[in-house]
C-alpha cells in the first residue's frame, strides 16, 4: 500500500521541479475587468477591495460584455473610472431605481447597483426596499462603513451606538439619534428578496468569503431567481480616526458583533 502511494507523489514532485526551473507562473494579479489605474481611495479603504472582487466575479462568470453597473454618490462615485465594463451613474440613493429601468429594458444584461450605507440606508431607503419588494432581478453590492465618507464622516443610519463621528462628537446617542439600522434583516421579510448575505473585508479569509457571496449573488441574477444583495462591512480608516490595521480589528471585534456575518436569506 505504501509503495503504491509513494509513487505518484515523487512523480508530482518531479513535475513541479521542472515547472519551477522553466517558467515563473503569475498566480495573482489585477483582474482583467479592472483598469490599471491608481484609485483615489484612502489607505486601507474597503471600497478598492470590493471593486476588485466584483471584477474577479465578472471575469470568472464571463459576463463582462453584458454587465452594466450603476455607481452611487459617495466615495465610490467615480467607480466607473476603475471598472472596465459598462457603468452608469445615478443620483444619490437612486441606483436601484436606475438599475431597475436598465434591467427591464435590457433583460439579457447583468445589472448591479453599487452603494454605500449613506446612499442605501439613508437617502435611498425607499428605492432599495421597493426594488427588493418588486423582486427585481438585479444584484446590489452594499458597502457598509458606518459613516458618510465622501462628505466628511458624518453619522449614517448604520453608525454603531457610541461611535464618534463628525455629527456625533460624543458618540452616537441612541435616545437622540435613534438605533443603527440592520437593513438586511429588514429586507429578509420581503418575498421578492431571494439572496441576502453579509460579509466583511477585514482579513484575507473574509475577503475570500465576500468573493464567494458576490459570485453567488450574481449567479442568482443569471439564474433569473430575483433580487440579490451582499452587504460588505468595510473599513473607513479616515473617518473612524484609526489606522487601517486597527480599523480591520474594529470590524472583527465590534462591527461584526452588531452586524453578524453570514447568509441572512437564501433560496
Amino acid at each position: 500500500m505504501r509503495k503504491s502511494n509513494q509513487k505518484p507523489v515523487t512523480r508530482n514532485q518531479k513535475k513541479k521541479k521542472i515547472n519551477k526551473s522553466q517558467v515563473e507562473n503569475l498566480i495573482f494579479s489585477r483582474p482583467r475587468s479592472m483598469r490599471d489605474v491608481e484609485m483615489h481611495y484612502c489607505a486601507g479603504c474597503g471600497h478598492g477591495l470590493v471593486h476588485r472582487l466584483i471584477c474577479e466575479t465578472i471575469d470568472e462568470l464571463g459576463i463582462r460584455e453584458r454587465t452594466i453597473g450603476v455607481a452611487p454618490v459617495g466615495c465610490a462615485v467615480i467607480a466607473y473610472d476603475y471598472w472596465d465594463f459598462d457603468v452608469t451613474e445615478a443620483a444619490h440613493g437612486r441606483t436601484p431605481a436606475v438599475a431597475t429601468g436598465i434591467k427591464r429594458v435590457r433583460p439579457e444584461s447583468i445589472v448591479f447597483s453599487y452603494q454605500g450605507d449613506g446612499d442605501l440606508a439613508a437617502i435611498g431607503t425607499a428605492e432599495i426596499i421597493h426594488t427588493a419588494n418588486r423582486g427585481e432581478n438585479i444584484t446590489v453590492i452594499f458597502v457598509n462603513n458606518g459613516v458618510y465618507g465622501m462628505t466628511g464622516g458624518q453619522m449614517a443610519p448604520t453608525t454603531l451606538a457610541g461611535q464618534v463621528t463628525d455629527t456625533t462628537v460624543e458618540g452616537r446617542n441612541l435616545k437622540r439619534d435613534g438605533y443603527p439600522l440592520k437593513i438586511l434583516e429588514m429586507m429578509a421579510v420581503l418575498p421578492g428578496a431571494k439572496y441576502l448575505e453579509r460579509t466583511s473585508v477585514h482579513s484575507p479569509q473574509e475577503v475570500l468569503r465576500t468573493k464567494r457571496a458576490i459570485k453567488k449573488a450574481f449567479q442568482t441574477q443569471i439564474d433569473n431567481r430575483g433580487f440579490s444583495m451582499v452587504e460588505v462591512l468595510a473599513m473607513c480608516p479616515t473617518y473612524w480616526g484609526m489606522s487601517p490595521i486597527k480599523s480591520a480589528d474594529r470590524i472583527k471585534n465590534e462591527v461584526s458583533t452588531f452586524y453578524p456575518i453570514g447568509v441572512v436569506k437564501s433560496y
Binding site: N25, I27, F28, Y41, C42, A43, C45, P204, V207, P244
Partner: protein
C-alpha cells in the same frame, strides 16, 4: 520558490499585507515613495505563494508568482 512584487509607487501604506503574511516576509520600507508614504516592501525569504497579501491589498498592487 514563490515571490511577490509590490508596486511601491502606488502603495499607500495601509500595511494590511504585513499583518496578513503568515511568514512575516513583508516590512515597512525605510524609504519614502512619491506620495511621501513608506510603502510595504517584500523582504524575500520562504514565500509559499499563499497570496494572502495580494488578497487583502485594497489597491490591488501585489502580484504573486509561483
Amino acid at each position: 520558490m514563490a515571490k511577490i512584487k509590490i508596486d511601491e509607487i502606488r502603495c499607500k501604506g495601509c500595511y494590511l499585507c504585513i499583518t496578513s503574511c503568515p511568514q512575516g516576509l513583508i516590512k515597512v520600507s525605510d524609504r519614502l515613495n512619491i506620495k511621501g508614504t513608506k510603502p510595504a516592501r517584500f523582504k524575500g525569504g520562504k514565500c509559499t505563494g499563499c497570496s494572502m497579501c495580494a488578497i487583502i491589498c485594497p489597491d490591488c498592487i501585489i502580484q504573486v508568482y509561483r
